[in-house]
Every structure is written in C-alpha cells, then in structure tokens.
Amino acid sequence: MPEQSRRAQRILLPLLNCGTIVLLWQLAVTERWISPLSLAAPFEVAKVAVSSFRILLPHILATTYATLLTFVLSSVGGMLLGALLMHWRTFRLAVYPSLVMFQLLPKIALAPLFVVWFGVNLFSRLSFAGFISFFPIVLATLAGLRATDPLVLRLCRSMRASASQIFWQVRLPYAVPLIMSGLKVGMTLAITGVIVSEFVTVQGGLGYIIVFASSNLQIDLMFAALGWVSLIGLLFYGAVLLLEHLILTWLGAPMTAGLSRPGETG
C-alpha cells in the first residue's frame, strides 16, 4: 500500500541521512578534508564529552541552575505582571506602551550594561536572562487573558459571576494556549540569555567553556560543550511541552491555538 511505504520513507530517510552525515563528517576530519581546527570529528567530540565530564560538570550544573532559576522567576513574574496589567486599567495604559517599545530594542545588546550595573556574578547573569525572557511572557499572558470569547463573558455577566470567578474559571483556561506559547518563547530566551551573559562575564558555565575553548582552539571541547547546551535546551523545552500537555489534558479541551510543535503541520 503506498500509504505505508510513504510512512516508512518518512522515518527511514532522515535516519539514513543522519547516519550518512555523521559518517561523512567523521571521515572529513579524519582524512583532513576539513581541518580539525574547524570542525571536530563526532567520535572525538563524544570521547572528549565523556573524558572531560568531571571538568565540565560544575559548568553544566551552573548553566542548568541559572536557566531553571531564570525561567521560574521570569515566568511567575511575567504571568503575575500580565494578570495585573489585565485588571488594572490605569497601570496598563501607563506601562503597556513602554513594554511594546522595549520589545523593539534588541535586548541582547544590554548584556554589557548588566555587567556594569551588577558586576561579574550570578546575580548579574540571572537579571539579564530574566530581563530578556520576561517580556514575551508578560505580553503573551496579557494577550491570552484578553482573548476570552466576548460572548462567554456576556454570559457570565448575565449570571452575575464575580470578577474572581470569571478570572479563574473562564479567562485563565481560555488564555492557556497563548500563555503556553509565551512560555515556550520565554524558555528559549532564558537559555539564550544565560549563555550570552556567560559569554560576556566569562566567569563560569557552559558559555564560558565555549569561549575559553575557542580561544585555546580546543575544538572538540567546544563541540562537547555545545552538545551539552543543546541537551539542556532540549530538556527544558521538553519540560515546557510536558507541562502544556498536562495542563491541556487536565482541562480536557481540544484548544488548538498556538499548539503546533516542530514537525507537525497541525
């Protein structure tokens, strides 16, 4: 049946492709087609990743810890601020335009400023990463809370529901898809922010290792650190996806907005 063979094709081809690429990559470096100073052979990288694990471990933990803390703080803070903006009109009118303006600024460029302000330490890294990842969460929460179906709101008013009831039982569930997509962006920005601040503070963490390794031309160490960074990024993003799945299962509603995952065309 053509359908089954197409499915097989879709799984086998990328795997085959992956395998071929890894092999070619290994060969390219071993045979010196590409200088080992540019690209580390995958098997070398794997070896180094294992052998230098002891040395890398504190840095892995540092980056993971920083990312986790950043994400928790910016998501909680961001959602709270979003909720506050939703319900306090004066505050919103005053602050919202500045928020939007801030979004126009390439916030990454502020990294050195945070070092000037807070020095070379964990706090400065956390505040920078938190600052970057906080904005999309606030804006997404605000958008989500305002996205409630106006007809449902009218129904609530006709039943004389209190503001608190409306918020917890109607607005928040409707806001879940948008808040979730904001959290995903915030997650990505949290790890981005941590890495960039580690580049700039060159004190510790995997970002520091990457810069350190690059200046010593230790390419295999560099790629090993990159691998760890990707793994951390993957784990955290997966955690957010899991959270999304759990919340949606609990809500039991097939909400579709903002749910597309990479690879799915929905």
């Binding site: 081809l13 460029a109 502020l110 990159l226």
Partner: protein, 269 residues
C-alpha cells in the same frame, strides 16, 4: 471555504493627511507619558545624586549622544551594513532551500527533520564557532547572523508553500502544469505573505546576530563600541549607543515592513 483564495487585503481608503493626523493623535498620549517619565527621571537622578555609572540622567545621555554622534554613526553604519547583507543572504538561502524542499518530496523527507533538530540547538552558543571558522572579522558576524536568521525565512516559505490552497494546486494538476510551473505561477506568489512575516522575524535576528558577534570578538561596530564603553563603565555612552542601535534597528525593520506592504499592494491590488 472563502470564495476566493485569499481574503481581500484591507487597504486604507482615508486620505494620507487624515491618516497622519490620526496617528499623531494616538501617539501623543504615550509620547507625552514618556516625556514626563524622562523629566521625572532627570529630577530624580539629580535630587538623589544617583551615581552616573548606575543611571545617568537623560540630559547626560543626550550630551553623550551629541558629542559622539559621528563615532556612533560610523559604527552603527558598519553594523547595519552587515545586518542588511545578512538579511539578503538569509532570504536567498532560506528561499532556495524551501524551493528545493517543495520540488522534491524525497529531499524534503530526508532533510526537513534535520532542520527541526537544528532548531533545538540554542544558536547563540554558536557565535564563537564562527570566530574560529572565519577569524575575528566581520565575516564571522555575517555568518553567525545568517545562521541565526535563515530559519524563520525557511519556515515562512515552507508554510507559505504548504498552505497553498488545495483547489489552486488541483487546478494546476488539471491543467497538467509541471512542478516548476506550479511553483512559479501559484506557490511562490501565494507564499509571499508568509515569507514577509518570516523576513520580519529574520530582521530582528540579524540585528541580534551581528551585535552578539561583535560582543564576542570585533574591532569595530556598535556591539564593539558598547563593549568598550562597558569596560570603561561609561554608562551614558552605552545608553547613547543603545539608542542609536534601536533607531537603526527600527529603520531596518521599517524598511522590511514597507517592502512587505509594497509586495502585497503590487500582487493583490
């Protein structure tokens, strides 16, 4: 299912003068608020004698801006030219890959998951690698910026190609159009709106890529300027540079947005 393939674009039918007047009216409130904030900040900083390293008074920032205008302009121009170059290259690469994916199902199945996986790598971490590959010059910034920013274009173009209305594709099949004709006549024009969305996202990433590349290693450019000012704890200069950067970023983004509108007008009338 709408009766036409796209909803009609909303074109303003007010005269341009009325539009400007309305815009000025709406911008007045937040602009006024910002002005008030700046004045309040000025007063606060002077009264509380906040150290300039922490928070320079707006007047100091303005002075720094004016004094260093030519230097800032030079570095900003350098960085922005790299941003524009990166944008053009990303557009070319992203579009080319999307076209290849659309024309060949086999290549699409082989390589598309690879791009999905690549999305998982926090690409900012790759900045030093580009320095290793291309040396500490502007080529490494360019390469890094392209690496960051061609994904949204690829995603936008692919989404645009996929979303081509099934009826239009069926029409092409009924007319026995070959893959290339379907692409040129139908899929490409139809993908333009999504492509423009991707281009806007890509612009932001190009700016981030160039600035970040300059943080990691550079001898010139606005990112380098900020790093230098930071090393000397010259906060006012940093802020002046940030203002210039934001302005330039807005300019480039505005250019891309204008391009988007121009394309839509030309295509859909």
């Amino acid at each position: 299912m709408s009766a036409e393939v796209f909803p009609a674009p909303i074109l303003p039918d007010a005269r341009p003068v009325d539009g400007w007047r309305r815009f000025a009216g709406e911008a007045a409130l937040p602009a006024g608020f910002i002005l008030i904030c700046l004045v309040a900040l000025e007063i606060l900083v002077r009264v509380l004698a906040v150290p300039e390293v922490l928070l320079p008074a707006p007047s100091r920032v303005l002075t720094a801006l004016v004094l260093n205008a030519s230097v800032l302009a030079y570095h900003a121009a350098l960085s922005m030219s790299q941003v524009l170059a990166a944008l053009v290259i990303s557009l070319a690469i992203g579009l080319a890959i999307a076209v290849v994916f659309t024309l060949s199902r086999v290549i699409n199945d082989m390589f598309a998951p690879l791009f999905v996986v690549l999305q998982i790598v926090p690409k900012v971490a790759l900045a030093p690698i580009f320095v290793v590959w291309f040396g500490p010059g502007s080529l490494s910034h360019l390469g890094f910026a392209v690496c960051l920013s061609f994904f949204p274009i690829l995603a936008g173009a692919r989404a645009g190609f996929e979303e081509t209305s099934a009826d239009a594709v069926r029409l092409c099949r009924a007319l026995r159009a070959d893959r290339w004709q379907t692409l040129i006549h139908v899929k490409l024009p139809m993908a333009l709106p999504q492509l423009c969305v991707g281009a806007k996202v890509s612009t932001t990433l190009c700016i981030i890529g160039v600035v970040l590349g300059e943080f990691v290693s550079a001898k010139a450019g606005i990112g380098w300027y900020i790093m230098q000012a930071a090393a000397l704890a010259q906060t006012a200069n940093i802020m002046a540079a940030l203002i210039v950067l934001s302005a330039c970023g807005l300019l480039v983004y505005g250019l891309v947005a204008a391009g988007d509108i121009a394309v839509r007008r030309r295509m859909f009338g």
